[in-house]
Symmetry: C2
Subunit: 241 residues, 2 copies
Amino acid sequence: MTDEPRAWQVVLEAIERDLLDGRLRPGDHLPGERALSADLGVGRSSVREALRVLEVLGLIRTSTGSGPNSGAIIVALPGGGMSALMRLQVAATGFAVEDVVKTRLVLESAVAADLAGASPRPSLAASVSLLDAMESELSAAEFLALDAEFHLTLADASGNQVITATMAGLRSSIESYARLGAASVPSWPDTAARLMREHRGIINAIESGDSASAGAAVHSHIAGYYAETNFPTHRLDDMPA
Amino acid sequence: MTDEPRAWQVVLEAIERDLLDGRLRPGDHLPGERALSADLGVGRSSVREALRVLEVLGLIRTSTGSGPNSGAIIVALPGGGMSALMRLQVAATGFAVEDVVKTRLVLESAVAADLAGASPRPSLAASVSLLDAMESELSAAEFLALDAEFHLTLADASGNQVITATMAGLRSSIESYARLGAASVPSWPDTAARLMREHRGIINAIESGDSASAGAAVHSHIAGYYAETNFPTHRLDDMPA
DNA sequence: TAAACTGTGTGGTCTGACCACACCGACGAC
DNA sequence: GTCGTCGGTGTGGTCAGACCACACAGTTTA
């Protein structure tokens, strides 16, 4: 009749309601697990299942011990949860890699165009300093890590946390594919040099205020890399021993 | 030294590895909780915490009982997890409502432009039949529900599951705000009529193959609604008794 | 004064015990 | 033979209780 909700959902909904009503805010401590258990009339294990979900979603941080830094604290870090979600969805083929790349294309092009059109134009100092760091001799893995960070700084400059978090998730979900791609390229130094040129071009386009060409530069930058590396649609139909 | 991972992370990582290596695919059954517990050398409660995460993320479905439909089954439904994540992030003010709306703007405009430019053009029959259903007299809540579905069918027509899932999540995260907005409008019937006109306009723009105006039509459609409804940046700084 | 020690409460984990449920096979009535 | 019925069995869902390692705070001690 009443369609009994599961015990952990009761906990999750109670916490969500407290968040929406402002009884809980970022930085606040959640009641202890034993207290929540008693308050809500569920077992402690059910409370823990709900807390685990919140933790993976990036909403809380937990620490052992006592004192002001212990317990479950609301943090609301958008990035972590998005990465976990997308990584697992890609792993389970719920998300096609191709769709992830296309979505990246849409979001990053829009961000670049937006940055170019904004006034006052946000500072790109963080992005530029990353580019400088990438000039040195780096392994493919190191380069890709900085490359990812560079793209994230652009999203960050737009000030839109949703886009930033989504892009971080998209990126991390195909991180392993990007690494494979780097290994499949004829000459990595040449590719890296081209990517760097394109990065500079993107920055220039943004700083010159040319929305259309900034968006186009990002688009061809990303699409070009994935085309060059012959991106797999799915991988590993064969198993290791 | 070894930085012991937490027990539930061991479970999560084991399952993710099985997914990536193809040992687990959508439709497969996970081993029973007791079996996983024994195999991985962790307690059953830790296994359950990991499974709960996977369930909320939309990766598995669990059912009690025995037989082929029982147990934990890989489903990889992208929508549910995205909605939960974004809803909670908005509730915890990790995501600003304004950023959610802007992101919707970017994604939906891109989808419309993409649909208009695609060849062969995907069928919009599902979208159109929803529009027809919306012509009848409806309450604001009913209208908004169909409206949300209409926008989703457009994303669905693009065939990009990542964008579809993301849009569904964005939408659900601000669903309550959209309802509040409908109540704040001077004349809801007038607003609804306008929204319907704009919907038809979007469909027409897509079907005429005009990418630019399709994107622009979606952009002004969404931006207009949120502007008209005087969207709150945050809400409920005051509490009920 | 400063260092060591103990008390206490936290999350993290495991174990064992139930429950409701859904299947499935054996058994019996017809 | 066929068709109900009726336990047996294994599943997830939940709870209770017990430890542990840890971090802090207050007290005791050198």
